[in-house]
């Protein structure tokens, strides 16, 4: 079956611009996670959705970052007024439910802010 997909695979933008990153989770997975991975580091948690609601957004670094999941499936991570420090690989993961199942990761979106 299809895994987690993320679009675009690469995004280059200029400082100050707005970007949207999309995640399509595995069908039927109710839990969806966004992580950010900087070069040479492990993924860092950003936000977790259970269904349509953001159950935990404590990892969002500041109010320039926002994510939605309006129908409980596809999610969009939105970054306003991008900064060079936002450059990273943004990973999306999904799992069947909040229980401690493994999370299935997408290939990521590499964001470069010039």
């Amino acid at each position: 079956g299809a895994g987690v997909s993320q679009t675009p695979s690469n995004k280059v933008t200029e400082k100050g611009k707005y970007v949207e990153l999309r995640c399509d989770p595995i069908s039927g997975h109710t839990a969806l996670y966004w992580y950010r991975q900087s070069l040479g580091q492990g993924p860092e948690f950003l936000i977790y959705f259970q269904g349509t609601g953001a159950a935990d957004d404590s990892g969002l670094p500041n109010d320039r970052f926002f994510a939605v999941r309006p129908e409980g499936s596809v999610s969009t991570l939105k970054i306003q007024r991008t900064e060079r420090g936002d450059s990273a690989v943004y990973l999306c993961a999904s799992s069947p439910d909040p229980a401690p199942n493994e999370q299935f990761f997408g290939p990521g979106t590499r964001l470069t802010v010039l």
């Binding site: 492990g42 993924p43 935990d56 299935f104 290939p107």
Partner: protein, 116 residues
């Protein structure tokens, strides 16, 4: 707060030899523990997990890991390394406590290099 430490940035091993990639963790309650592998330009792939039960957990591609509560460790092992095992390995933890964070906390990763 939960945290994971992977003390080795890189592990080098000869093909056919046993390998160990170290991981220690810290959580307020009991842990759920995971190992993931990342190949170049690819997403994280799940290897194995410890939830409860036997301390020795077996996973994909011949990997296993041993949960040691007293040492708060969850080292990844394989009896005989393959060149194709060369990749970046991440240990991750989640707090079992109901109030704990549902998301995973990852270590900084260990690059495994298996030499032919």
């Amino acid at each position: 707060a939960q945290s994971v430490a992977q003390p080795e940035d890189q592990v080098n091993v000869a093909e056919g030899n046993p390998l160990t990639v170290k991981c220690t963790y810290s959580v307020s309650g009991n842990p759920y523990l995971f190992w993931y592998v990342q190949y170049p330009n690819r997403g994280l792939q799940f290897l194995l997990k410890y939830i409860t039960g036997d301390n020795l957990v077996k996973g994909s591609y011949g990997f296993e890991a041993e949960f040691n509560k007293s040492q708060t460790s969850f080292h990844l092992k394989k009896p005989s390394a393959l060149v194709s095992d060369s990749a970046l390995y991440f240990c991750a933890v989640r707090d079992m406590a109901g109030t704990g964070r549902r998301a995973l906390t990852f270590g900084s990763g260990t690059r495994l290099q298996v030499q032919p």
